[in-house]
């Protein structure tokens, strides 16, 4: 089985859970003998390294590079390709423009050639899913880059050998649809998040349309939870027989988690780790923190992550008068994530809407007990967690306080949580995916 997989992030460059999920999933697939051609856009930041271009690959279309991890290929059966297109979601128009300008400057020399190459690709010019200058959240340029990614992906697909197309999240759906149209191969779209999760009911119509077209154009729609499956069913009108649920998993850290907890002050740490956006409910975390601090002073709340609500959150912490109990770390990756989990006493995910939520699994894998909102997909697979409705800050504070005050609570959660975690594996998720592939290709 060979899969042409379209995604927009892959470790080490990640902004959230998608990259982690893509990594685990492709690794799981490689373990069961599935070959994956993974197609990435240009990563940001480009200067921090991580991927290395393979110079030897000269027979590729212009604007397509074959790359490997700086540390070498993580596992066999995976080929990584990078396209000259910049896909960054969750950025404001300003930051996006900034990134895009930098990329443009670098590519000044190449650009004319790339454009010519794109024009040279025959076939339908566009599937007409979107025009330029989309919505307010994403700059018009993102749409142009999505189009570019689409054309380059098609060019790569023409010279690749595969049985199935598998696309992750809406930015790659146009490319997947186009590749399907050109090759006739069956297509899976994988829904890690929907516009309703990201934007509540104030959805971006253009993005919704792309998501909808992708889901309807696909042969199978894989959702990361039943929560998300319901949204695909009710909000996007996807026929039930097309919908599948495949849960995410987590890789257990090899060092056995918390064995190396550093010595620290006698202060309890409560951790929020994620994008600081409406979807993640950061304000509920701070409002609960306020209530906790009224009863328990020996505590620090760490908000790790960045996002469009970060300045509002810093102000909110000040307005609530809990500034001295709250630390903002900015965006963390790699080792820093590992470190912060090691010092945390409790991980809180107060998401307003969370299709899955891998971070709680990562927390558990580091022996950190978790408090998660019931409005999350991960709540379907983890029973040994504290659960609250995201809006119920009294309950949230009550449960945080209980963990801080009663050591047996945290230890029992950890003990059972870790055991439960060992039952979730990417290999099992990959098996489920492979089953879906086989169903579409007639068992080849």
């Amino acid at each position: 089985m060979k899969v042409f997989m379209l995604g927009w992030e892959f470790p080490p460059h990640i902004s959230g859970g998608l990259g982690t999920a893509c990594y685990g999933m492709t690794k799981g697939l490689s373990e069961i003998g599935v070959k994956v051609t993974f197609v990435l856009p240009t990563s940001v930041p480009r200067d921090s390294g991580g991927h290395v271009t393979l110079r030897s690959a000269t027979d590729l279309p212009l604007g397509v590079r074959k790359i490997v991890h700086q540390t070498g290929q993580p596992f066999s059966g995976l080929e990584l390709y990078q396209l000259d297109a910049l896909l960054i979601p969750y950025s404001t128009p300003e930051t996006y423009d900034e990134e895009a300008r930098k990329l443009a400057e670098e590519q000044m020399a190449l650009d004319a050639e790339t454009l010519a190459a794109i024009k040279a690709i025959s076939g339908p010019t566009s599937l007409g899913l979107f025009g330029h200058g989309a919505g307010p959240q994403y700059a018009g340029d993102l749409m142009a880059q999505i189009y570019k990614y689409e054309r380059l992906a098609v060019a790569l697909a023409r010279i690749s050998d595969f049985d199935v197309i598998h696309a992750h999240d809406w930015m790659t759906f146009p490319a997947a649809l186009h590749v399907k149209a050109r090759t006739g191969k069956p297509m899976v779209v994988h829904v890690h998040s929907t516009e309703f999760d990201r934007s509540g009911d104030n959805i971006n119509q253009v993005i919704y349309d792309i998501e909808r077209a992708g889901m309807h154009g696909a042969d199978k729609v894989v959702c990361v939870s039943h929560l998300t499956r319901n949204i695909a069913f009710t909000r996007y009108g996807v026929p039930a027989e097309k919908l599948e649920v495949v849960y995410n998993a987590v890789e257990l850290p090899e060092d056995g988690g918390a064995a190396t907890r550093p010595i620290r002050r006698n202060e309890k740490i409560v951790l929020f780790l994620g994008r600081v956006t409406m979807q993640k409910g950061p304000e509920y975390f701070l409002m609960a923190a306020k209530k906790v601090v009224e009863k328990f002073k020996n505590v620090r709340f760490i908000m790790a992550g960045s996002g469009d609500m970060i300045t509002r959150m810093i102000r909110l912490a000040a307005d609530l008068g809990i500034g001295r109990y709250v630390t903002f770390t900015g965006f963390l990756r790699g080792k820093d994530v590992h470190k912060i989990f090691q010092i945390a006493d409790l991980y809180v995910m107060p998401s307003v809407s969370e299709p899955f939520g891998i971070a709680p699994l990562e927390a558990l894998s580091h022996d950190v007990p978790v408090l998660i909102s019931r409005q999350s997909g991960v709540s379907e697979v983890i029973t040994h967690a504290l659960k609250v409705d995201f809006w119920d800050i009294d309950q949230m504070a009550d449960k945080i306080l209980a963990v801080l005050r009663h050591a047996p609570l945290g230890s029992t959660l950890k003990q059972h949580g870790r055991f439960e975690l060992s039952k979730l594996s990417w290999r099992d998720s990959a098996e489920s995916l492979c089953e879906i592939y086989r169903g579409m290709t007639g068992g080849t």
Binding site: K291, H384, L386, A397, P408
Partner: protein, 395 residues
């Protein structure tokens, strides 16, 4: 002659209301829910089952007999919300065919943590039984049939004639539960052990259509009991009273079974029904059964792990019993009663993490979404009890 000894356990806890750390009032109990559950179970089980038992006592002219243990906490709830159930038990007491057994008033694990409290609760329960039903209990059963040699010794010293426990395989080994035994360290006290196979045929398997013996008819069961003839004296059928109508719904035919079985058994002329005291008076003990470690009738482990299997449970139990002196010293009867209601074993059962993820019988009885919620809620209430005791002491 095989003597069937029916013993039914009747209990409902005072379930706790949702109590956060930000609450400071002293209303700990979920009266609405407790009344609701009690009324539901009264309608489905207690009233119809008592009616059938009463009919059986009358129809068989005193030859049908059985025993009950009714906890203090459920009797208080009967008094409060369903006095008609209490009346129906009094009617049963009046037949002379029904014996009432003693246990800890609060259905607690006090024996493990506080011997004085254990004795006090048992005496309180005996007194209550006498007041309600005009009988001073002669037989003792500990909460959930938790038992070991030490329990036996203390119970003998309190003057009881016999004690009940589980006929656990790992205790009995090759021996049969169908005899009466002695604890090794007791001179006088007799020990009756539950025949869990036959008991569970009724209590757990009766309505299970996947069971090879389904449907269980009165004829079939009579035949099984009859086989004890020549191999034993007694057939100890111990079970929750809620088996009738609540655990096994009426549509399983459980009530019809219970209506028919006694007549069928008595018709053999070889078997009979006895109360626990009658059985104890009739049969000599055949040997010693040594139980150094705690056993119970719960789960397949037959141990304490349903109440004391994780660190939350052990922490909560330890904390609540460590308040004993402070609370009792206040002399405040309301506070003492509140604290004692927190000793009811169900609160700790709700914190059990065994099988939690698989969702089974534990979940069915659990008013909480998770064992963690149960623990958090309990500890919040305990904080308030502690503060109340301290406030009175400080006065």
């Amino acid at each position: 002659m095989a003597s069937v000894v029916f013993y039914f356990q009747v209990h409902q806890p005072f379930r706790l209301r949702r109590y956060t750390i930000f609450d400071s009032d002293t209303n700990y109990f979920d009266d609405f829910r407790n009344e609701q559950v009690l009324r539901k179970v009264a309608g489905k089980c207690y009233l119809p089952a008592n009616k059938i038992i009463l009919e059986l006592c009358k129809a068989h002219k005193g030859l049908f007999r059985c025993s009950y243990s009714i906890t203090g906490v459920i009797l208080e709830q009967f008094q409060k919300w369903t006095p008609e159930v209490l009346d129906s038990f009094k009617q049963l007491a009046d037949t002379g065919c029904v014996e009432f057994i003693a246990e800890t008033y609060y259905h607690s694990l006090a024996f493990l943590y506080n011997r004085n409290e254990f004795i006090a609760q048992t005496m309180k329960h005996c007194q209550f039984m006498e007041d309600m039903f005009g009988q001073r209990p002669r037989i003792f059963r500990n909460t959930e049939l938790t038992y070991n040699n030490d329990v036996a010794k203390v119970v003998e010293d309190m003057g009881f004639d016999a004690i009940l426990t589980e006929g656990a395989d790992h205790i009995l080994g090759y021996r049969s539960p169908n005899f009466i035994y002695n604890p090794p360290n007791c001179a006088r006290l007799k020990l009756l052990m539950k025949n869990y196979r036959l008991s569970d045929d009724i209590a757990f398997r009766f309505g299970n259509r996947g069971w090879a013996e389904w449907p269980l008819t009165a004829e079939k069961f009579t035949n099984w009991v009859d086989q004890i003839n020549g191999n034993g004296y007694v057939c100890d059928l111990f079970m929750d009273y809620e088996t009738f109508g609540e655990h096994q719904w009426e549509d399983t035919g459980i009530f019809n079974f219970m209506r028919a079985f006694p007549g069928m058994l008595l018709a053999t002329k070889k078997n009979e029904f006895l109360t626990v005291s009658q059985a104890v008076g009739r049969y000599p003990p055949v040997g010693e059964v040594d139980v150094p470690h705690m056993i119970s009738w719960a789960d397949t482990e037959r141990d304490l792990s349903a109440w004391l299997g994780n660190s939350m449970q052990s922490n909560a139990l330890h904390d609540v019993y460590s308040l004993a002196d402070d609370v009792l010293a206040t002399g405040d009867q309301i506070l003492i009663a509140d604290w004692r209601k927190l000793l009811t074993s169900d609160h700790f059962y709700y914190m059990c993490t065994k099988w939690f993820a698989d969702g089974d019988v534990h979940k069915y009885f659990n008013p909480y979404e998770s064992p963690y919620d149960a623990y958090i809620n309990y500890m919040n209430i305990l904080d308030n009890v502690r503060a109340r005791a301290a406030a009175i002491k400080g006065r």
